[in-house]
């Protein structure tokens, strides 16, 4: 969507420095990206910024944010982001977590259940799937892993190009290293999170692509059961990276749910 004026800044929060992109007006909405990092510009972000004050920080150790060597868990990132919100004076945001970012969003929600307007989890990691396993980054090639997140490979080509650049490959390696540092064992889930979710009273929307080959849909159903006030939406003909594969469909779901559509 042309015309969205994104501002880039570096914000010190939670003992580290974060690369932050921000655009739009309205109620605050924090978008948390995948474990493969994020591009600066994506149509999904633009579509949200048309209706909200959208904040897209790069996770510590991912993409353009520096790596805090001390960090040891995904919960640490959630705490850093709680610090970021407080630093920026942002209260009661909606949290939109994409894949791995969904795990961070869920952790943030459990930390301060009152300081949250809506929770949106899209193909979220963070829970042990009752059936199936989360795809193992460590044994899958760089390109194969990201391609696995798309039902339609043309969508991958559209976002990254059919042959992603060496810069992109290098970035994926950096992100991968950070994921290993903080989510190695148990791999990509928390054993305590499902219990803590009971305190999240804010309305939650759990979205899953019907062809998610990264996080089994059973994990989504488990989120819906664990969250007191959640509903489940399935996006058809879509893989794990719903935000990149069907940005308009997902933006519509999110905007409607948050109450701006």
């Amino acid at each position: 969507m042309a015309g969205v004026d994104w501002k880039t800044s570096t914000v010190a929060a939670g003992g580290t420095k974060l690369h932050l992109r921000r655009a739009g007006r309205g109620a605050p909405l924090l978008v948390l990206h995948h474990e493969t990092g994020t591009l600066d510009d994506l149509p999904f972000y633009d579509a949200l910024a048309a209706k909200h004050d959208v904040l897209v920080p790069h996770h510590p150790g991912y993409s353009r944010s520096e790596r805090p060597d001390w960090m040891r868990s995904v919960r640490d990132i959630a705490v850093v982001y709680r610090g970021l919100l407080s630093e920026l004076g942002v209260a009661k945001p909606a949290l939109v977590g994409l894949g791995f970012g969904g795990w961070i969003a869920a952790e943030m929600a459990t930390m301060a259940p009152a300081d949250l307007s809506r929770l949106v989890l899209v193909g979220a990691m963070g829970l042990k799937p009752p059936q199936g396993d989360i795809l193992d980054l460590a044994i899958t090639g760089y390109v194969d892993y990201v391609r696995a997140a798309f039902h339609d490979q043309k969508a991958f080509d559209r976002v990254y190009g059919a042959e992603p650049s060496v810069d992109q490959l290098e970035m994926w390696d950096i992100c991968r290293e950070m994921s290993f540092r903080i989510a190695w064992k148990p791999y990509m889930y928390s054993q305590t999170l499902p219990h803590l979710l009971a305190s999240v009273r804010a309305p939650a929307l759990v979205v899953w692509g019907d062809d998610d080959n990264v996080v089994p849909m059973s994990a989504g159903k488990r989120y819906v059961e664990a969250l007191p006030n959640a509903k489940f939406e399935i996006v058809k003909s879509c893989g794990h990276a719903v935000d990149m594969e069907q940005p308009e469909a997902l933006a519509k779901l999110v905007n409607t749910f948050i109450g701006r559509e």
Binding site: A138, G141, E170, D173, I174, F180, K185
Partner: protein, 414 residues
């Protein structure tokens, strides 16, 4: 000169075609292709090889370990070390080595090694390695902390060996509130530690800082020289002068009484589809965070199939040309080894004698000729070149036990 026999202990009975069809012979290549009947026979063959090696007068038996792959059957080097500690009488048991980061409890390693040292009556050389990338994945260990875990586990083991317990160890990756193992090494201050490696500069630097001998694993003469250049430079900075007693070298050498047979058997050094660790996906052998960040860009290009392997995968002929594979009768082999000794001046030499499908009979012949004809000649050459092993040079076990340290400038002036 310290002269050793080495074999990777190949699981040669696996189905090669299955490996090619699957496209990998490591990590994810199913263990249904492991035949324990053949495994039992092969393990006992290897014991027979080691016993003959001792009988024909080799100085050391070099052991190593790998996981989830047919190229090496030793899943725990300490098991073989323990067997040899009891069965052999003279040979050093040289572990090159225990992969420290794989240990969740390094104190257990310290105990096992101390037991091996006592049972063998002080014949243990306790090398340590980081373990290959696949080793981390095969054992569920975080590759991103590999080097940190290596150094920290090393420090803990050395403390467990040298400091009276009980004491407490609060590290980043290892926390032990009670360290007090009731098994400590016979050798004092502690068994010699040698560090094998292939390409990581960080490991060469670390070894030189500790004054631990570095064992170059089958590198080309040019690569080996570069390794010593770096080692010697760090040695000077640390206050000592590097020499043959700091240098070890492992090379693939097959010896026979017949040149043609030697050549055929030497081709078996390429039996694992040309890569000695077999075929594997690059992200398995170098998981993110395992390698040096300076190699990141070159590595991702290779991993995505856009660049050649930075480690190289050269043909048999080229490796013979580069003296990375040597074969022949004892006289032929000695001549070639002499060139290596002259050019790289190691004080420790390991001959990797047999691989793949080399028959037990030919393996034993190779070992016999190694001990009875090649090594005596090498010892004479080493004497004339003044290539002393750490034992002959009475080198300190670690930098901190040095009595000859000089400020970096004075050392450099020597």
């Amino acid at each position: 000169m310290h002269l050793m026999y080495f074999t990777e202990q190949p699981m040669s009975a696996y189905d090669e075609k299955a490996g090619r069809d699957f496209g990998a012979t490591a990590l994810m290549f199913s263990n249904k292709h492991f035949d324990p009947v053949a495994g039992s026979r092969l393990y006992n063959n290897y014991i027979e090889q080691y016993m003959l090696a001792e009988e024909v007068g080799i100085d050391g038996i070099m052991l190593n370990e790998h996981h989830n792959a047919p190229f090496c059957m030793q899943a725990k080097a300490n098991i073989f070390a323990a067997i040899l500690a009891g069965m052999t009488k003279k040979a050093k048991i040289v572990m090159l080595g225990n992969p420290l980061p794989l240990a969740e409890n390094p104190i257990r390693l310290a105990e096992e090694l101390a037991m091996i040292d006592m049972i063998s009556k002080g014949r243990l050389v306790s090398g340590f390695v980081r373990g290959g990338g696949q080793e981390q994945l095969a054992t569920g260990v975080n590759p991103a902390f590999n080097r940190e875990r290596f150094e920290e586990a090393h420090d803990l083991i050395v403390q467990a060996w040298t400091k009276a317990g009980p004491f407490r160890f609060e590290g980043t990756h290892y926390q032990h509130r009670v360290v007090n193992p009731w098994a400590v090494p016979l050798q004092k201050p502690y068994p010699r530690v040698w560090i094998p490696g292939v390409i990581s500069k960080e490991t060469i630097i670390w070894a030189a800082q500790q004054r631990y001998p570095y064992i170059a694993l089958n590198t080309s003469i040019e690569q080996t020289k570069k390794i010593w250049e770096l080692y010697d430079q760090v040695a000077l900075q640390s206050g000592y002068v590097g020499g043959p007693e700091n240098r070890g070298y492992l090379i693939q050498v097959h010896i026979s009484d017949n040149e043609d047979k030697a050549r055929e058997n030497a081709k078996q050094f390429r039996w694992m589809q040309g890569e000695f660790t077999g075929l594997a996906h690059p992200v398995w052998s170098t998981p993110s965070g395992y390698g040096s960040p300076t190699n990141r860009r070159a590595f991702v290009e290779f991993a995505a199939g856009r660049a050649i392997n930075p480690r190289g995968n050269t043909s048999f002929e080229q490796q013979v040309e580069d003296l990375r594979i040597i074969y022949g009768t004892p006289d032929q082999v000695v001549k070639k080894l002499k060139r290596i000794l002259e050019q790289t001046r190691p004080g420790i030499l390991a001959l990797w004698g047999n691989d793949g499908f080399v028959s037990q009979e030919d393996s034993l012949t190779c070992i016999r000729l190694m001990g009875q004809e090649v090594f005596p000649a090498i010892r004479e050459i080493a004497k004339s070149l003044d290539l002393k092993s750490p034992f002959e040079a009475d080198a300190p076990v670690h930098l901190r036990y040095s009595k000859d340290l000089k400020p970096a400038k004075a050392a450099a002036a020597e």
